[in-house]
Each structure stands twice: as C-alpha cells, then as structure tokens.
Symmetry: D2
Subunit: 333 residues, 4 copies
C-alpha cells in the first residue's frame, strides 16, 4: 500500500482551519505518515523560557495540512483513523501563559487581578520506557509519569466562508484537546467545503482532562493515519470511534453547552444505530455515558460523551468503517 508522507517545512505551517491552500490531495483509503510540530511552534525549549517573551502569539498551534480529500463534498463525513501517534522528541514542554488557563482570569473571564507567574516546565521523555519526568520549579520534587500520546487538534475547513484560528475548537473539530483522540481512534467530521481540507497538529505526550493550566506535554509527533470518506451523513459535532467505545465531542461556552452538544449528538447516534425514539435514547444515554472533560481553557471549551460498546448491543457505525480502517492500519508496518 502506498503511504503518503508529509513533513511541513517551517513556512508550510498553517494557523487556521480554512483559508489555506491544500498541500496535497489524498484519495479516500489513503494512508498518511505525517509529522507535526508542537503547539508552541517549537519555541519553548528551556525551563527558563518566559512564554510571553519566546512565543509569537500569531504563530501558535501550527497544523500539518490542509489535505484535500478527493471527492469530499459538503454534507459528507470524513473518516480519519489514527493508526499511531508517537513522540518525535526526547523532551516536551508545558507552560503557564499570562491570562490563559482555567484557574486564572483570561481575556474573556476578564478580571483586574495580576496574572499568575509565567513558567515553563521541560519534561524529559524516555520513549523506550514510555515515561515523562516532571521536575518541580520551587521544590526538590521529581516524578515519572506515563506517556499517553494524543493529538490535541484535528479539523476541517469551517462553513459560512469562515477561516478560523487553530486555537479554538468548534463543530468542525479543531483544538478539542481530548485524550480520547489517541492511537486507535477513528474521527468522523462533517465536511463543509469541497475536499474537506483537514489538518492535524498539537501533539500531546500526555494531558489531563480539562488541560487545566492551558498546555499539556506539548511535543512534536509522528502521526500515521488512514483517510476515508462516507458520502452524506455529516454529524453536527465530531464523533469518534474506538475499538471499545463511541465518543462525541461538543465545543462551546459555557461548559454545560459544550457538554449538551456532545450529549445530543450521542442521543442522535443511539437513535440511528438502534432505531430508538428520542426519549428512549435520552434515557439510555443518561444511564450509560461517561462524561470526561477535554479542554476548559480555549475560547470554546470541549466536553466529551462516551459510551462503552460493551454496554450496547452490537452495531456497525458507518458500515463498519472503524474496523475497515483499523485493518488497513494494521497492514502498515
């Protein structure tokens, strides 16, 4: 099988969903090997770095892409199966950025208090052992924690002629920052423009749910994925499929609305899969779902609804697309 490979040069980074020329056209069924830079565009490299000095606020969260998917039209469903997501470096960086994060006033939750200190933490990464080492700034404390690689950002071009920063997730995906997007996940996104124009980025070597301080263990990533297309059937909000779970993601403010979007999307999915009425699907979702938060720091927050397949009758979402793409992925070495 041919595998499309793409590593952007620095001037090929894109900072928006929509608005950028595609770097490649890929046909449904293609596998891709991609490299993604970290969300700081590689600019935080030392625990002595001050984010407000080293970062360029116009160059945050670079994406690899966009890719034009042959045949994708408005109303179709793009399927992206993440075969592997592997740290490409032996270190990762996390920071606190002034007036950004969940436990501080921000440009929107505007307050008059002084910002929290801006700090950078550099984690040493032992890829063989799957370990990241945290080193405290203000005490003699280190901790080895397991890697749990994931992609913070995947999305397509938005509707309504918009071009949107890669910093803010929405119905088109984007910077959802959920640990549910890991190796083995198939992502379903509604297509809003010809070619879908998807891109990926913002690898996290590990992240807590909510991404409280605003950044994860940000790191460059090697990503292998398989692309496919379902004609029609565009979901209102991103859907994911794992071997063992169905997942929906909503992004909005306040946080309850992000979660409501993911919940209604899951209710609709249960209706589709099992022929349930809305009220029966509502009841079932209420008793079966997990609700792990994703990000509570971006201009739209993201929340997840997740149901274990083991709790549900067998079903074959999108005609078995996840199984199919998983099988393709397994053939790649």
């Amino acid at each position: 099988m041919r595998v499309v490979e793409f590593t952007p040069t620095r001037d090929q980074y894109v900072w928006t969903f929509g608005g950028a020329e595609p770097v490649l056209e890929v046909s449904p069924g293609s596998a891709m090997r991609l490299w993604t830079e970290d969300a700081f565009a590689g600019r935080v490299t030392s625990s002595a770095d001050k984010p407000s000095r080293v970062l360029n606020t116009k160059e945050l969260n670079p994406q690899t892409g966009p890719f034009y998917v042959t045949g994708a039209e408005v109303g179709d469903t793009l399927a992206l199966h993440f075969v592997s997501i592997e740290p490409a470096r032996d270190w990762a960086a996390s920071t606190t950025i002034p007036l950004f994060g969940a436990l501080t006033g921000t440009d929107r939750t505007a307050t008059l208090q002084a910002p929290l200190p801006e700090l950078a933490w550099i984690y040493r990464i032992d890829r063989a052992r799957g370990i990241a080492t945290f080193t405290a700034h203000e005490s003699d404390f280190t901790l080895d924690i397991p890697l749990a690689p994931m992609m913070g950002t995947v999305g397509v071009a938005p509707a309504l002629r918009e071009v949107r920063t890669t910093l803010v997730p929405d119905y088109f995906g984007g910077n959802m920052d959920t640990p549910e997007l890991r190796a083995g996940t198939t992502v379903y996104l509604g297509v809003n423009t010809d070619g879908a124009l998807f891109s990926v980025g913002d690898g996290h070597y590990r992240q807590g749910e909510g991404e409280t301080c605003g950044t994860a263990l940000e790191g460059a990533m090697n990503v292998t994925l398989v692309v496919d297309l379902i004609k029609g059937g565009a979901p209102a909000w991103p859907r994911f499929e794992h071997d063992d779970a169905l997942v929906t993601v909503g992004s909005a403010r306040p946080l309850e609305d992000a979660w409501r979007c993911s919940q209604v999307e899951m209710v609709r999915w249960l209706e589709e899969l099992y022929g349930l009425s809305t009220m029966d699907a509502y009841q079932l979702c209420s008793q079966l779902c997990l609700s792990p938060l994703a990000n509570v720091v971006d201009v739209n927050y993201s929340a997840v609804t997740k149901i274990a397949k083991a709790l549900l009758p067998p079903a074959d979402p999108y005609g078995g697309m996840h199984r199919k793409l998983r099988a393709i992925g397994e053939q790649l070495d």
Copy 2:
C-alpha cells in the same frame, strides 16, 4: 465636503469580517453615505413567510463594505461617527427562527425539545410620524411603537488571519446588536489589519435590549457616517462615545464574561481619562455605570457598560475626536 456614496449591488453583499476585497478606499476625515440591506437579505416580506423556507442560511446579515481606510495599521484606532441612521423602507420584518433566540434551546444550548413555532411579523413603518405598527398573529391586537433606528453590526477585519461570519460579534465589533449604536454615536475599534476593512449592516428600526426572539425590526437603512483614524491606542473591546455618555461593549459567553469584558474596558478607560489607579477606577465604575444588555442570542452574547458624562469630570477622549466628527457631520445636509 466630498461625500463618498456606496450602495452595494446584491452580488456585492459581504458575509464576513475579513476575507473580502475592499469595495472602496476612504481617507480619514471622509464622510460616507451608505445603504444597507436588512439582516434577512430582504427575503422576509410577508407575515406568512416561514423563515426556514425563505431564508438562505449562508446569506444572512449582509454587510456594506468592506472599506479600506488609508493609513490604518495594526494597533491603530478606527473612529466611525454615525451622523444619521434612517429607515429606507416603509416596512420592517421580525421573525422567530427554529432553534435561534434567547428563550429556546439552540444549536449550542442543545436540547431535545421541539422548536418554537416559526413566525414572521411585518411592521408597517410610518417614517414621518416615527411609528412602527405591531400586529399580533393570534389575537386582535395592534400597537404603535416608536421607531428607534440603530445599526446592529459594525466591525473591522479580525486578527490571527481569521475570517469571521457577520453573525457573531467579538473583540472586532460585528453583530453586537446594541441600541447604543444610533445616530450621534462615535464607535472606536482597534485595527487588526492594514486598512482596517470596516463594514456596516443589520439596521434595526427598533430593538429591545437583548434582542430576545433573535431578530429586531429588521430593515434596510440609509446610513451617513464620518470616518477617522487615531494612530495607536487600539482598545481591547469596542468603545462608543455619545454626546452624553461613554460606552464599552464586550462579546462572549457566558453573558457575565461579555459584561466583564465591557467592565474591564471601562475601568481602563477611566484610568486613562482621569489618571486613576485600577482600584479607584473599579470603585468609581461600580457606582456610576449602567449595564444595558445588547444581544443574548448570538454565538457570542454582547453586553454594554455605560457611564453618563454628566457624572464624570470633563474629559476629552481621543483628543476630542467625537466633537470633531460630530461637527463634520453637522455640516452635511
């Protein structure tokens, strides 16, 4: 004085802030006479119209513009003084649109309930008497109410390479929908791109604060304004100046954050005008401000902070820009 006139043809309507080529270049100090189509793009004309049938969801809230302001650079402050805002038609339309509005579930406040009925109300407008006539759908009730013309939307191109729908207000202005934007108002907007690229639209012959049902008395408008430019000094959020009041507008969700943005902006303005410390300005704003809501229906809500000049010591914001533009406006016939 030369007055730039511009009435867009239907194919010149623009639907975004950013992303559209300027239709004209204007130099600071210019007066302009503009015509704006209503937010429905003129498609609701009868009380029998069903919004979901007659509206084109990709063609809502058309703007007149964008205009390139000579010399405007990032970080500058665009000043737009609205000399007059006059209904251009003898009727106006208001509607309820399924799953849009403040007293219904929406695409974000996602619920499972059936939408409210979709209805259109056509108001007859008596421009001479300044009266709009409301006619109830379901009872024998009519009511004459005074016109209070305003512009729902004014904004500039956003930062971060974005192109944003004209439906959602933000730091760059846009669809704020505040009755504070009426004849006599000077609007100050931070410039994010060369030329500022401002546009205006969404005339309301009258609107309550909050725009509860989602639409006002929507109508085409004749707008006369004067454009000017202040080098530097870009406010974080839109500021307005009336003969008798200072006004700031924040746009975000939840609503308290929209209001917080407007409050912090007013605190900053008081600091600038009177050399007050932050805490003294905070105290003074707390006791003096009015807080009339603007819109509680768009993807960002808008809230206003307003202080009567009569309550404050004399001051000359932006070197007397409002007085200067007002004087220019008075010379136009």
Copy 3:
C-alpha cells in the same frame, strides 16, 4: 392612618430568609416606617478599615423583619410599595472584599491568582444637596455624585422548608441589588409560607448596575412602605411596578439564565395583561424591553427586564394595586 414603626436592636437583626421568628404581624393595607442597618452591619467606618479584619462573615446583610402578613398563604402575592427610601446617615461605605466581586476570581469562579487589594472608600453624604463625595485612594481625585437611594434586599421566606442566607437572591427575592427598587416602586412577591415573612435591608445610597466591585454606597436607611396582599396569582419571579414601567427580576447563574427568568416572567405578564399568545408576547417583549443588569457578584446573579408603560396599551396590573398603594403612601406625611 396608623403606621407601624420598627427599628431593630442589634440583636434583632436577621441574616436569613426563613428560619427567624416574625418580629411583628402586620395586616394588609398597613403602612410601616422601618430603619435598616447597612450590609456591613455598620462595621466599616473608615477608609483605613480592612474588610477582612473588621467584617464578621456570619453577620453580613442584616435584615429588618421578618414581618408576618395577616392572611398571607402559599400561592398568594405580597405587594410592598416603597413610599420613601432615605439615607439615615451622613456617610456611606463601599469596599473591595478579597475574592468577592465581578472582576476577580471568587469562591465559585475559583482561580489561583492573588486577591485584589482590599480597600474601603468612605463617601461623605450631603443629604440636603443629594450628593455623595468619592475620594480616591491613590491619587488626588474627588468627585461629587448624585444620591440615588435604593434597597438592595427585599424578600420573603423560601419554599421547600429552606432557610436561605440574605446574601443570595433567588425566586423569593432577596439580595437582588437592582437600582429599580427605589422610592415609588411596588414589589410583587409570591408567598411560600403562611404570613409571607418578608424583610428588607441593604440600603444603597447609590449603586451602578451590576454592583461590579461587590458593594454599593452601603448605608443605613429610613424606609417607609405600604403592605398589601393579593389572594393567589403568585409570580414565579419578583415583579416590580413603577409609575412608568413594568419590571421583572430573575436571579441565577450563568447571567443569561438570570435574564431568561426575567424575560419569561415578562412574557407571561404581557400574556396576562393583554391576552396575547406566547409567541406574540415574545415578539413584543423582544422589541420593547430594556435589560439593565442588577448584580453580577452574588452566588446568584440578578438581571432585570423592564418595559415602559408608555409603550404599552393602558393596563391595570393586579387590579390597580400600584395606584392604590401609591395613594396610601401619599397620605403619609
């Protein structure tokens, strides 16, 4: 006409709605002359006071009452007409309290930032001229501002066996902190317990809309009011009537929900007064209402919907109760 007079001794202050024995029984139609202590229980007296040192967090917002209204039963409507609200002192105090206020993290909007400085401002009050004098802490700035006396708090005992702090407004009224509650206002509150058990307090010599920093010009007050009772008809949320306006008040978080409560209450009121359908009342409210914020600092925020009577056909809410009580008030000297 007999006028019931009551000035609480310090040990008679009450700190809750519900849970306190009535101090007096009053019959519908009674006039009352009351004195209320300020929200600090009189403990802030100098601009050198540190709120966290001088305040007792268990003794904030003392109420005068509760009063048992003869004949009041669950589901009835208590009417309280405020004849006069007059400053009882020649000074007023305002403060910033650590982690309280709209432009700071709080115990609920929990952040890790350091609190803002805690400061007290003492305003000199010239009652004859109706003036309060603001003196800045950190610069040589003073400002005379007009008094605009109002009551921050009025409420009845809650339902569901609850006893609720006087700090948090809700459906039963309480600490709504709206400048709409001034001399001339009639307040309508649903009765939740036998006798209604209303109390009043928290006089403000002046307050901005939103009460941004968390406190107004807090001061002791002389209050004259007339009590009456309407059998049945309990509104879901407090309604006010002015000579020239109808007002509803909602209290909740986030702020849009507080406002939604007030809006639905106004829609219902318009339906009742004019026999309008819900959709027609929704439309009319959308075009006519003002939406001035009340408080954005308490554990429930409060928002107001207000419609000028001049915009509406003549109506006689509650059988002319406001006119009747106003006439009684005018007979008091």
Copy 4:
C-alpha cells in the same frame, strides 16, 4: 464491634441539610447500617406513572439522618467510609420530569418551548447477576446493563444558619450525584455546625456521568458506613478517597465553575500532600487529572477532579484515615 442500625419510618424522612433534629448521636469510629428510600420517595412504581401526577414536589430526595457526630465542631473534617452500597429492591425507576434535566429548558434556563414528554422507565433488577434491564417505551428494545450502585447524596448541615433542600449540592456536599461515591469510597466533608449533622440518601443502582435526563436508576439502598472525625482541616469542597484515587467535587453554575472549584481543591490537596508550590501543583494536576462530570441537572451542577494514586508518590492523606476505615469495614460481616 457495635453497629448502629437505622431505618427511617416514612415520617422520619428529612428533606433538608440543616434544620432537622438529629435522629441519633454516633461517636467517631462507629459503623452504621442504614436504609435509604429512593429519590422519588418511592412514588414511581410503574412505567405508566406520570411523574407530575405521582410525585410530591415537596417530598423529593428523602435523606436518612441527620446523625450527630460526637465531638464534631466547626472547622473539623468528617470522614465517612462507605463499606457497602447494596440495592434493597428488585426494581428501580427513572423518569423524565417536565422542565427538569440537562437536555431541556428548565425553571432556570427558562425557555418558552413545550416540555419533553414525561415518562417513567422501570428497570427489573437481578441482584444476583448484578444486572438491570432497560425496556424501551417506543420500540421493541430491551438491554441488560450492569449495576453500579452509588449514593447520589451525602452531606452535612450548611453554614450561615442556612437550611438547604436536599436537591441542590454545594460546598457541604448534598446531591452531588457522582458515580465516584460507591462502595469503598471515603468522603471528607468540612463541618459547619456542632455535630456535623450528616445524612445520606438518593441511592442509584446505576447512573451515567452528568445524570442527563435528571434521574438515575433510583432505588432504595442498604448502606453500611463507618464514621470518623478529624479535628480541624476542613476542606473547602468535598474530597473523596478511593483505594486507587484522590477525588474532589465542586458544585456551582456554570459548569466550568463547578469544575474550577474541584480543581483548586485538588491543587490545594497536592500542595498539602507533597509540599509543592501552587504553580507546581497546578502543572502536575493539569497533566494527571481525570475530569468526569457528576450532575448537570441540579440548581448547582457538580464536577469531579480525580487523580490515580498510582501516578503519584505514596502519601497518607489524613494520617491514613481511608486505610483505617477500610480495615474497620472489612471486619464487619
């Protein structure tokens, strides 16, 4: 070991935190065997029941208690270890209640739409197999799902002289509705009044995270717990401890504030346990935490922060209280 047993009679149910006389005094170290009625007070028994007809809105969420803990004083920390939580019936009920739930307008998120249908689902419970059977209303669909018993409600009397409905969670615990409160959990609650006055109720045979439709598999429960007391150290928000995790719970609106409360509480706990600075604890929490939602339906929403002990260095919260109480529990048969 003596075990205190208590099964309330119907007239002993309590509906508030605070405001009720203790039914028993228990000394620290005591084990208790309790029975709790379901949140409907046993009134929903058939899938033909209409909640609005069979429920008494003043008698919802009955608690078993309150219990006076010998020696508990304001500022102390009550520890409750749940040894077992076992369904006491062979059926459970769930319902949709008009204008209650996450995917409908409510009394606070007030809208004008018609309520969703009100329905009851009765689940057959096979306690031996640990299975509940869902039966759809509108199609021929049944599903066996595993039991996962938990307590929706546990709390102490509030501060500030308040008496609070058992329906609304807050800093004092209450109706948090998190599946994290299951057999094996130790709950730590700050004491606000002499004797703490704790009670428990609202057993759920299973619940999804968020309790979307407003109710879980509501059922009577047999609860065994061990009570203990830590002098001082009251947490600001409830903390839980599992064998394998630390958990904090915040309750507020909007949902981000509930979560922020739980996050700050966890940051504080990490500071205490490991001597970390606030910023280092913030960073560590950001990368390690899970954030499963609890309830998004009550007047305060509840959100959880959870960190696996396996990710942290060994620690002994509260001097090993959890281990100690677990050992006591194991000795009970």
